[in-house]
């Protein structure tokens, strides 16, 4: 499965090498497409490629590190 996500980093995790760690701890190919880092927040557009359960586990882990994980479509539920 290929999943495209926006990851938002905050002051608490912005300095950690989380994307490197993600590629090492899960069998997921990471492919950064866009990144914007301001003083206290960082936004990374990334594609994850791998088995569904690996990607799911990686997302759970990212969230546990305080990273906000969203699909690149942002809110798809409409009124």
């Amino acid at each position: 499965m290929r999943l495209r996500l926006y990851l938002t980093f905050n002051i608490g995790n912005i300095t950690k090498p989380l994307i490197w760690q993600l590629g090492r701890d899960f069998s997921v190919i990471t492919n950064i497409r866009t990144a914007e880092v301001k003083e206290s927040t960082g936004l990374v557009g990334i594609e994850l490629d791998g088995a569904e359960e690996q990607i799911d586990a990686a997302i759970v882990w990212l969230k546990s590190e305080g990273v906000q994980v969203e699909p690149i479509e942002q809110d798809v539920i409409e009124g």
Binding site: L3, I59, P71, I72, Q74, D75, I77, E78, G79
Partner: protein
Amino acid sequence: MSTSIVRALKCRECGHEYEIQPVHVCEFCFGPLEVAYDYDKLQGKFTRELIESRPQTMWRYKELLPIDGDPTVGAQNGFTPLVRARNLEKALGVSELYIKNDSVCYPTLSFKDRVVSVALSKAVEFGFTTVACASTGNLAGSVAANAAAAGLKSYVFIPHDLEQGKVLGAGIFGTTIIGIDGAYDDVNRLCSEVAGKYGWAFVNVNVRPFYAEGSKSLGYEVMEQLGWKAPKQVVVPMASGSLCTKIHKSIKEFIQLGLVKDNGTRMYGAQATGCSPISRSVKEQTDLIHPVKASTIAKSLAIGNPADGFYANRVIRDTGGWAEDVSDTEIIDAMKLLAESEGIFTETAGGVTLGVTKKLLKQGKLNRDEPIVVCITGNGLKTQEAIMNEIDKPRVIPASLKAFDELAHAAGIEI
């Protein structure tokens, strides 16, 4: 004549162009894709006379909508009334005010019928036989109804705890409803994954570039109904922010094609205070949109992380407009004002739009002496719970003339 002038899908961020296909984001930068046209091909051919000779539906502007042939879904949709609101003008102390009344949009009573008929017509052209959406109300009903009429199979994803009335509004059309139990962002991700995996036309995911173009028809109609004039000031409700950007695009297109003169149109955006990421960014004069957790009775506008927020912000600021937001009480007051002054029963989103109009007039951001168009985009029968306790209860009397005489006398009714 019906040659399409659609050129490509173009990334709004990096400008990269893609062939027409059911995709919605740029492979290179993840920017959103938008339909681009070769307007030159229409020069001199797309005239007021041609448009006026066609049936009164949104498809009379077909050349500027992104389908190749004739519409196969929602061929009757659109062309709602533009009402000169004289009572409201008096109530608000303005010189010229119009209501674009999409609360009576065919067939499901919201402007979503415009976007959905374009999305589904395009889906049919692409060869899809199943369509889907994720929605808490208007979009669900519109996808379900228009799909039913077109013989398409449909799936509607909703939060599992949605009110019964909203479920009914989609379920009656025989769609398959899937209630999802999970946090909001997980629901979003699931929909994005399903769209990628199942080969469906997911209207607000993989066919979104086409879907969103449907909103332009509201703008075209307003200009024609004003007597081929661009409006001076337009107030638009914002959820994702798409409608706001597309009305602006419709005006630019008509100017470019020589159908109207540039009138220096200012765009004004309306949100509920309980979910106001876009209006906040405008008021704080930044282009950063901070996602919020929504809490408002205007559920149809409750998008906390709006996909087009950045672009709506830019249109509002570039045109010299402004944005505001109103409380639940102000929303209800405005719904009542519109109903009592103009006989139009709008849903909470319309209360937001008119409530913000009032507020912007008070602030002097909207000019009282220039024409204003207020976009009312949904019907009040869909959000009855919001005003259930706000209207007078009937006075009950025995079935006798004497009893009525007494009531009439007490109420000061004269014969």
